[in-house]
Amino acid sequence: MNHVVRRTATLLVSVVVASFVVFAFLAVLPGNAAEVALGTNATPAAVARLSREFGTDRPLLVQYADWAQGLLHGDFGTSYVTHEAIGPRIADRFAVTAWLVAGGMLVALLLALPAGVLAAAWHRTGRGALLSGLSQVGIAVPAFLAGILLVYTFAVRAGALPAGGYTPLTEDAQDWARHLVLPWVSLGLVQGAVLTRYVRSALLSVQRQDFMRTARAKGVRRWAALCRHGLPNAAIPVVTVLGLQLSNLLVGAIVVEHVFVIPGLGDLLLRGVQDRDLLLVQGVVVVLVVAVLVLNLVTDLLYRVLDPRLRSR
């Protein structure tokens, strides 16, 4: 329990530090929201007036305090560009990105677990080398490139799936899935390939352990031993990588959203930066930071579930 408290405290401190860093970085970004909002026909007087209205002419520390105070109350502020509350917009977009990341992770797992086990079982055979080679290729292909190739093959050439866009799950579940298949696969392929290598090497090192030899000596078949005793023991390194990968997926999702025209957090972030809608950008980044930190915390706590030896510590 003590451990959980300590970890949560670290998380909170990290969030505060991150919020400050985000704010500071965006404050030094050249260009301002009032100029962009007014466009190519603006007069300096109009820019000054709008800056005053936005509150961007106040000292930075005052602006930060104002914003941070709002965050504590769950208020992300009002967008400079659309004059709407930012919180609900982020929530909408977060749901989209979460589906994307969750599906991508699922595809990665579906690929990596079987492929990793097979690669380990086929260690030092031609088939094993082939699988290792394939996963190496998968690692080398960036998600956006995989996305472009998938669109070209399945949407442009075959016309079987839409080239991009998004339908909310609540509107039409089938259409929702049709739009997400290609993004899921392009995210999942790369992460799945990375994960395959970890599953394989974790299993290989477990295979040399005494308990595996004991299991085999008791007459358990090689495959069964791998699955029943090997996989649980290989889980810790794999879960570690999985935690890191979820953060990677979140970042990868931003690029993939762009390729597939999915209205997720990444899209919102890019728009915000372009419009210098700084409150929006700060909000999105803070949400992303918190998501990554929470994922790390969950990973950390999972170790203790997976490995009884850690619990006593």
């Binding site: 970004l29 050249p30 260009g31 301002n32 100029e35 962009v36 007014l38 466009g39 190519t40 026909n41 603006a42 007069t43 300096p44 109009a46 820019v47 560009v81 659309t82 004059h83 709407e84 917009r89 909408d92 977009r93 595809v107 579906l110 079987p114 086990v117 097979l118 669109v151 070209y152 399945f154 949407a155 442009v156 075959a158 016309g159 079987a160 799936l161 839409p162 080239a163 991009g164 866009g165 998004y166 909310p168 089938q174 899935a177 049709r178 298949v181 495959w223 069964a224 791998l226 699955c227 762009h258 390729v259 025209v261 209205p263 899209d267 919102l268 890019l270 372009q274 419009d275 210098r276």
Partner: protein, 499 residues
């Protein structure tokens, strides 16, 4: 047991994919009453009275909102919700005779009260710079239920023109409570749904006063990435590619059995600006030398696959005073060198600060090369657009040269304001524009022509070309607006042929 389970898993995953792939979506599917259009810039809200940006009027003006007057494909002002209007001899008073069979989509009839309300609203509620176009209005009053009288502080042809743009849109007095999401207008379409970041769906207004549109629904889909936009067109997800970003990608759509390419004119002049307040461009001879040094035809061919119109002043074919080729400078590098020598500007270093937009970057490279041949050293510095470019070049005028498309229609005034980033200060030009604005519409054309000729001779800037209005559409679509003349992309006249 495990090896047997793995193929099962893979198989079920494959099955899911196949089942999903099986349902619908062929390349040439479309129904005759629906249209899907792919566009680039997405509206931030649906209210152009409080939010700026070209995307909102593009989607709504002429479709959801209408004005008392409208602009036709040739750039002429035509009756809209007013079936006619009278202009007083001194040009200060306009009487609009309204149609009496017009209803808003909230069920309310459109009356003179709504027209007065809408005109006054621009001056009271609108916060955007464009609202200044209504500053010339002294008063707007109701004469009777179908007649509105507008009195101007000074005669202005531009004012009537601006009534065809978004500031002239007519609102219902009872329909402005939630304009950001639920616009209420009189147009042939109304907003059916809006999925932020993805699409805006318009549906036919069943109570429309005018000719019944052929389409029941128009879906505007927004793409941030031009590659994704092209793919969607190739895959048949959209029926119209509303804005071709790079003309060189048109070769993707050369299959005439599926696609038609629409190549019309726009109002976006791509201006090579020269900072008139700085050396070396304070000297008219240097500016003229630049104009002679650039081979515009070659530039258009290299950077835009030859698509676009060569222009020589701040004008486009839909302007009533368009003079065409006569304002252009012939390509004459020898003359350019001579002028530079006279001005003592040979070998000058020039900082060209451009927006990081593809058309500007590719044009800048050609300009750099051509100016090098006459002895001007150009250093290209791309700035992030919009934020940094606006702040550095537009606001501070901290630049020697730049390139940007001036997209607004009838924006000749930008050269009349000495504080505008061209820093072009010529009272004669400003006076000519003022005279053109105040005179009768017939005199106006002659005055504009004279002003634009002066602008060209003075080489206030160089005009590289006029952007084309390039679209790709399904080959069986008819009635798409070919020229981009006003702010709206109108769908009332679009239909599928033979189905």
């Amino acid at each position: 047991m495990l090896p047997r389970r793995i193929p099962a898993l893979t198989l079920s995953a494959a099955l899911v994919t196949v089942t999903l792939a099986g349902c619908g979506s062929g390349a040439d599917r479309h129904s005759t009453d629906a249209l899907t259009v792919g566009l680039v810039a997405e509206p931030a809200t649906l209210d152009f009275s409080t939010t700026d940006g070209a995307a909102i009027p593009q989607a709504l003006l002429g479709n959801v909102y209408e004005g008392l007057v409208r602009i036709d494909q040739q750039g002429r002002i035509q009756p809209g919700l007013a079936k006619s209007y009278d202009r007083s001899a001194d040009g200060r008073t306009y009487i609009f005779h309204l149609r009496n069979n017009v209803k808003f989509t909230n069920g309310k009839a459109f009356t003179a009260d709504d027209a007065v309300f809408s005109i006054n609203r621009v001056r009271t509620v609108w916060k955007l710079k464009i609202a200044q176009q209504m500053d010339d209005v002294r008063s707007a009053t109701k004469v009777d239920a179908d007649t509105v009288k507008v009195t101007l502080k000074r005669p202005s042809n531009n004012w009537l023109y601006s009534m065809t743009t978004r500031v002239g849109a007519m609102y219902s007095r009872d329909g402005v409570s939630d304009l950001k999401e639920h616009p209420v207008g009189t147009g042939p379409f109304e907003v059916a749904s809006w999925q932020r970041g993805d699409n805006l769906v318009l549906k036919r207004n069943t109570g429309y006063w005018g000719a019944r549109p052929a389409l029941d629904t128009v879906t505007l889909k927004y793409f941030k990435d031009s590659g994704a936009l092209n793919n969607a067109m190739l895959a048949g997800d959209i029926n119209v590619l509303g804005a071709v970003q790079a003309p060189e990608t048109l070769s993707m759509f050369k299959d005439k059995s599926r696609f038609q390419v629409i190549d019309g004119s726009s109002t976006a002049e791509v201006v090579l600006s020269m900072n008139n307040s700085r050396k070396p461009f304070q000297d008219k001879r240097v500016r003229q030398a630049v104009r002679y040094a650039i081979d515009h035809e070659a530039l258009l061919k290299t950077t835009r696959a030859g698509r676009g119109t060569l222009i020589g002043s701040q004008e486009s074919p839909s302007d009533p005073w368009y003079a065409g080729a006569s304002n252009r400078y012939p390509y004459d590098p020898a003359k350019a060198k001579r002028l530079l020598k006279e001005a003592g500007a040979e070998g000058t270093s020039i900082r060209m600060r451009i927006p990081n937009l593809p058309y500007a970057v590719s044009a800048a490279q050609v300009v750099q090369d051509q100016l090098a041949q006459v002895g001007l050293k150009v250093r290209i510095e791309p700035l992030e657009f919009p934020a940094r470019w606006l702040s550095e070049v537009f606001d501070k005028a901290d630049y020697d040269m730049s390139i940007i498309a001036q997209v607004e229609p009838r924006d000749q005034w930008i050269f009349a304001d000495p504080h505008y980033y061209f820093r072009y200060d010529n009272p004669t030009y400003a006076q000519l524009l003022q005279k053109a604005d105040a005179g009768s519409p017939q005199e106006a054309a002659a005055d504009y022509r004279q002003a634009l000729k002066l602008l060209s001779q003075d080489a206030a800037a160089d005009w590289l070309y006029l952007m084309p209005n390039l679209m790709v559409a399904d080959k069986s679509l008819r009635g798409l607006p070919v020229n981009q003349v006003g702010e709206g992309l109108e769908f009332a006249g679009v239909r599928w042929s033979g189905k």
